[in-house]
């Protein structure tokens, strides 16, 4: 879909998913790394636990559908080569932090001069300017300052984040939307655009209906462990089962299917099946209208039933009987979920060590312009020759001067 467009990805671990999304949607993405490689090449997990630049699974996961070059933009030759690439590009994405690119002479102005219709997307922790723009940030502090931690975790302990870093991925996926929104504007006005993406605000979005709670209702929402706060009603979401935990709430459809299971196991008497209009049970308890069986008794029955059965067993039976039970999956459980296999989700990728491994697949299924992965993450400088020498017409000496330390055929 985006095949007419070229994206220059100047970002590091804080922005690489943005251009991956554009690449997945068909754009021609050139990843520009410093000669020592993107920061993500030094981030784990690493293949074989060996922290080598070509072994980073962080880099491998978020740099597919890109070709890679190395340029040293602290040199004049490196900057010149980059701006020549920009002449042929439609988008530039960077995550260096406020003002950092401008210090190198590579701010929006320089790119706009090289290409007046360029879309320049800058990803940063708090935005390009403002009283806290230069604050030091990490995944944890962004989860704190963006708000989601205040509503996450057991109330008896500290607020928690997700223990796999997420903040820069939220910001990066938002940056892909930002880039295409600005591009839609450029199509109409012909003018290049500078786009300023804030990771902090992208975390606020994940706070969902809690983000404006105080301004609207006069009180904040607070962390409540795994309890779902639905207005005045609190619903425990996580229940221990025979081999782990499941997430389950008593919606109308779920109770309609599940009460007979509970009768079968002797958890509740048979009269429960006809004793309640289960299909409307949830709407009534949410609006605090009369119900036959109290919510706490229903949860007690659910708890006792669930303890006797395994995650996989309940998921499969639930799929047959319209009962919505979600196993709390480990990565291993996830890889066994038949739905993903059935839809052909997993893709086989050749890892840098020569083995083939299943990886997260395409973003969605499109009827006329199916998405695919045309290439996996580039090795450091893999396309230096193709792009710098063949495409830009640089000599090998010029390429080396510009930071392309290992021009490859």
């Amino acid at each position: 879909m985006l095949s007419p467009y070229t994206v220059l990805d100047l970002s590091d671990d804080r922005g690489e998913m943005a251009s991956m999304i554009l690449g997945d949607l068909g754009a021609n993405v050139v990843k520009v790394e410093p000669p020592y490689g993107s920061s993500s090449r030094r981030m784990g997990p690493f293949l074989e636990d060996a922290p080598e630049p070509e072994n980073s699974l962080q880099f491998f996961a978020f740099n597919r559908n890109k070709r890679g070059v190395t340029l040293d933009v602290t040199t004049k030759a490196g900057r010149a080569a980059l701006l020549r690439l920009a002449e042929k590009a439609d988008f530039v994405i960077e995550s260096a932090g406020p003002g950092e690119m401008a210090k190198l002479g590579l701010g929006f102005d320089a790119f706009e001069k090289a290409n007046p219709s360029i879309i320049y997307v800058a990803i940063s922790a708090f935005g390009q300017d403002g009283p806290q723009a230069d604050y030091a940030a990490s995944d944890l502090t962004l989860a704190a300052m963006g708000g989601p931690m205040s509503v996450q975790g057991n109330p008896e302990r500290a607020p928690v984040r997700l223990s796999v870093p997420q903040a820069w991925l939220h910001a990066s996926s938002e940056a892909a939307v930002a880039a295409l929104t600005a591009h839609a504007l450029m199509i109409q006005t012909g003018q290049g655009q500078f786009v300023d993406v804030s990771a902090q605000t992208s975390m606020i979005a994940t706070m969902l209906h809690a983000r404006l709670a105080h301004a609207i209702q006069g009180s904040d929402m607070e962390r409540a462990g795994s309890v779902l706060q639905a207005g005045a009603i609190e619903l425990p979401l996580v229940h221990e089962c025979a081999d782990g935990y499941v997430v389950l709430i008593p919606t109308g459809a779920t109770m309609t299917g599940m009460v007979p299971w509970m009768v079968e196991d002797g958890i509740v008497p048979e009269e429960w099946i006809e004793g309640e209009d289960w299909a409307t049970y949830d709407r009534r308890f949410l609006q605090q209208q009369p119900v036959v069986y109290a919510l706490e008794d229903v949860f007690d029955a659910i708890r006792r039933y669930v303890l006797l059965h395994t995650k996989a067993e309940m998921l499969d039976r639930g799929l047959r009987d319209n009962v919505t039970i979600a196993p709390i999956n480990t990565v291993e459980d996830l890889t066994k979920f038949h739905q993903l296999e059935e839809r052909g989700y997993w893709l086989m990728a050749p890892l840098p060590d020569g083995t083939d491994t299943a990886v997260a697949g395409i973003l969605a299924q499109l009827s006329e312009t199916p998405l695919d992965v045309k290439r996996w993450a580039p090795k450091l400088g893999q396309h230096n020759h193709e792009i710098l020498i063949e495409m830009l017409g640089m000599s090998e000496a010029q390429a080396i001067e510009g930071g392309a330390t290992v021009p490859q055929e």
């Binding site: 984040r161 223990s163 979920f337 989700y345 969605a364």
Partner: protein, 405 residues
Amino acid sequence: MTTTLPFDGIKVADFAWIWAAPTTSKYFADHGATVVRVETESPPDLVRTVGPFKDGEPGTNRSHSFGDFNTSKYSLSLDLKNPQGANVARRLIGWADIVIESFATGKMDDLGIGYETVKKLNPSVIMVSTSLMGQTGLASTYAGFGFHAGAIAGFYEITGWPDLPPDGPFTAYTDGVAPRFLAAIMMAALDHRRRTGEGQFIDASQLEMSLQMLAPQIIDYNASGRMVSRIGNRSRIAAPQGAYQCSGEDQWCAIAVETDEDWANLRSAMGKPTWANDDRFSTTEGRLSSHDEIDKGISQWTADKSPQDVMEILQVAGVPAGVVQRSSDLMRDPQLKHRKFFRELEHSEVGNVPYTGHQFRIKGYDNGPRFAAPMLGEHNDFVLRDLLGMTDDEITEIAISGALV
């Protein structure tokens, strides 16, 4: 400052509900598209029935669980099971450039407006069906929420404390993840259509899109059998990291030491206490293995300071630190004020209320939500008359049939 909007002239028929799909169509609405949200009184979108409600008073038009996710849209109340209602839906589909829906798989077919019909009514339309599990496969009819998808994807397993059952992320995590992927896909499809005239069908699974957020961990398991689980606020590669309790009621500041230099700076900022002057703490490995001991020392230092003070002292020293902010703190956040992040807009029933703004700013364009969320059915007349060009007689007939509820 340009007054041209990115999606000027784009028309969206929005059959979405709850959070994920409405957030997706909101990107188009806030940036200039004409988006008609189709909903009904019987029953209303579930998020209209849960809070936060304006001033704590329940009411169909008072919920910000609906409001903050549906700015800049027009609301048409329509009973799709009423034959006249179904006719209006077909007119709307014929009018639209994009049709988006997030019903249970198969429901649009049952209503007579599945993709095959939609394509006949409007050959170049982009139709988006989004659900937890996608439109095909045994689990395609799985009728769950974002917390179900969050559990299946693996986000629950990694959120909480290692010695306790998982807490999981706040509410419906994947509802906050999927809209960005889907909006980007739709914008690309729209650009393709602008250039080629070709529309298409998009089958988007919330689970599949969300798994990109765990992509390295999935490869790591497949390649080495290693699995991630919840570790509170700690990092696997750096220490100390955590949320530390401060003075005041349930007040916390997050601190994340990522390098030896950060540790040295933290130690200085704390006034070089003797406990911290331990050789074992000079390396990442040493700090990782003494995390409990270090946490105790940091907590003693933070206990008598406000989280704001802890953050400011550490930021001066260059150490990543941030207050754990509640919604009330966000309203006072100086950086968000500087970005004009929250926007007050006049809602027809609840009056002037704040809405969250955009996570990105385009220079020279004051982007933010354009107008407040609609009341249920607020724009019936506008949609039927001005957008679909119906006559008074037609509108009266539809109203009499009972379809506009």
